[in-house]
């Protein structure tokens, strides 16, 4: 009898192991010991920072989880693909991740235009996709069952920029924008929101990513009498414009967005002390990467990527990976894509260690709806306030 019980116990244990093995084998990218997670974005090319550095941040967070034994005993393995920030590159990258690498989920999307182009393929495949940097609304709007973002979207940011200007009593608004795909994803919602409010801008100027001089734009802004300028540009364009505005003695309220949220770096690019006295920016990260609150991440980043200095892009990756890890954990040990996607509904007012506001994916796919603003005060990045979107 004792021998029979022992034999049955062993048989039962084998049966359980076989079932667990079968469960893991059925789910792409999931084994008993690891979860294969794909990522795509620019690793090379002019805007590699939005991909490579953000991915480095994700990997740092995954490493931290893995050192503690992973999630439910499974380690997270990141598989990178370079999309060169190009639509065709992103489509090829997600196809490779989904059909060749057979990843469980994707956390990525460095550039808006290329991520938008990849959306149909991701949606068709049903692979869970967590956006970590791209801001175009079309990636999550209209919602797709398998796509969530923890990045602020372009529309939310553009509306917040206008609201900030109006809350400060600005009467004459101006826009300076890049007219590439990234810029237009912000510029058009901004124009729509201004129209909805019955407002018109007094100047609508263009800059390019590689702008080396902004005197003409600054002169046109000054002659328009604009008292608040909403900047839809990358750091170099913003730095050049602000520098040349100072040169001609033009000092409006400058309102930036998340592409220029690293204020000490922006001031360094301008090269003039006090140049950001009238400048605020929307932020994903409510402090400078050099702040003591990020000391742990600086150390962990150096351990894995000795050549990197902790940047906003690293922190964006870490922040997205933190929420992603939370969802994996909430999905439970018997991990499936369905359970993982359902687990996004458990993310409700989640206090991230990096994002300034709460993250809520429950009932919505744009999980980050809290545009906070920062400014520079005595070379320290400080919280400047927030807005209530009207």
């Amino acid at each position: 009898m004792k021998q029979l019980a022992s034999t049955m116990g062993v048989a039962l244990a084998f049966a359980c192991m076989a079932t667990a093995g079968a469960q893991a084998a059925d789910v792409p990218g999931v084994t008993d010991t690891e979860i294969k997670v794909g990522t795509f974005g620019p690793l090379t090319g002019p805007v590699y920072i939005y991909g490579k550095l953000t991915m480095n941040g994700v990997e740092v967070y995954f490493n931290k989880l893995n050192e503690k034994g992973g999630i439910h005993g499974r380690k997270l393995v990141l598989v990178r693909e370079d999309d060169l920030c190009k639509p065709e590159g992103a489509i090829a990258a997600v196809k490779k991740l989904i059909y060749e690498d057979k990843v469980f989920a994707i956390i990525g999307g460095g550039c808006s235009n290329s991520t938008l182009a990849a959306r149909p393929e991701i949606e068709k495949a049903g692979v869970p996709f967590h956006v970590f940097a791209a801001v175009a609304d079309g990636i999550v709007d209209p919602p797709a069952a398998n796509i969530y973002t923890t990045q602020l979207t372009a529309t939310i940011e553009s509306h917040a920029q206008i609201q900030w200007a109006l809350d400060r009593g600005a009467k004459k608004l101006a826009i300076v924008s890049q007219h590439d795909a990234w810029g237009r994803s912000r510029y058009e919602p901004m124009l729509q929101d201004l129209k909805r409010r019955g407002l018109q801008v007094v100047a609508d100027e263009e800059v390019t990513v590689d702008q080396n001089d902004g005197t003409a734009q600054a002169l046109r802004l000054k002659s328009s009498g604009a008292d608040a300028v909403m900047l839809l540009g990358y750091p170099k364009a913003a730095a050049v414009l602000i520098r040349d505005s100072i040169k001609i003695g033009y000092k409006p309220i400058w309102i930036g967005q998340t592409a220029i949220q690293d204020l000490p770096a922006l001031q360094g690019l301008i090269g003039i002390d006090g140049s950001l006295a009238n400048f605020v920016s929307i932020t994903t990260i409510p402090g400078h990467p050099d702040n003591p609150q990020y000391a742990e991440w600086r150390k962990l980043l150096k351990n894995t990527f000795p050549n990197d200095e902790l940047s906003v892009f690293n922190l964006m990756g870490i922040a997205a990976a933190e929420v992603f890890g939370k969802v994996v954990d909430a999905a439970g040990k018997e991990l499936t894509r369905e359970k993982f996607l359902a687990a996004y509904n458990t993310i409700d007012n989640f206090k991230s260690s990096i994002y300034p506001g709460p993250i809520t994916c429950k009932g919505q796919h744009k999980c980050n709806q809290s545009p906070a603003f920062v400014k520079l005060d005595n070379n320290n990045v400080v919280f400047a306030g927030t807005v209530v979107l009207k």
Binding site: T44, G45, P46, Y48, I49, K52, L53, N56, H179, E205, E206, V207, T208, D210, N212, D213, T215, A216, Q217, L219, R220, S223, Y234, P235, K236, A239, R243, D244, I246, K247, I248, G249, D262, A265, G268, L269, G271, I272, F305, N307, D308, E309, S311, F313
Partner: protein, 293 residues
Amino acid sequence: MLMFSYLMATGITTGAFYGLVALGIVIVYKATEVVNLAHGELFMVGGMLAYTCYVIEGLPYVPSLLLAVAGAFVVGIITERVAYRSVLKHGLASVLVATIGVSFILKGIARYVWGGKGDYLSFPPLVSPEPLQFGNIMIMAQQLVVLVAALVVMAGLALFFKRTRAGKWMQATASNPKAALLCGLRIDRIYMYTFAVGAAVAGAAGVLMAPLTLLYPDVGFVLFIKGLAAAVLGGITSVPGAVVGGLLLGVIEQLAAGYVHSSVQDVVPFLVIMFALTFLPTGLFGVRGLRKI
């Protein structure tokens, strides 16, 4: 009137940038009849090397500048070996493609070495970053430094080509390589030094302009296009033409952006190239003859 004064002053100082870039293009073209499409990246390499010496290693400015120029000189020699000498037998088209290859390789190396430190690297200016007042307008002091440097480099190169044996050898080789060879000139070596001198000028330009253009692996491309437009307008074989072309391009660009709209600013170089090739095929200072671009 104030706006016009600002646009003219900025056009001239910005134009000096373009002229300095154009000078390097002209030097190589003058001797080899090849437009080095990696020229913008040589500019970037100069800036990055100076950044390493001056900002990271803390060396004084002048040694940093000299090391950066020397580094660019060496990269110029390598460019000549890889993208010119070894592929010339396959025709000029192959050389152009090879220089594009060098451009991508240099950008890739720059991303590997200097990437991961943020998106743009800022280089401290040689002079005060505060603007200086001239009459009723303000100008960035660093822009004046570039303007003066462009004029000095131009004068130096003009003297080099007119007064030195090496300069004359380069001109002789450019004019008739076979005759130069028959006269005993080692034209392979002259081509190599031509590429190296062009690269050194690009490196110097990179260091001088870095505080204004900022540094990143792709900084060279736009400046190369503008430098090429300036060189074509000036006559592509003329050293003074490169500087005058640069100044004209800078002024046209600023006036168009100021009085038409800021969106036309980046279109101007392409319009200038098309205009020059159509209506001024020898440029403002070029000589009539076969042109291969």
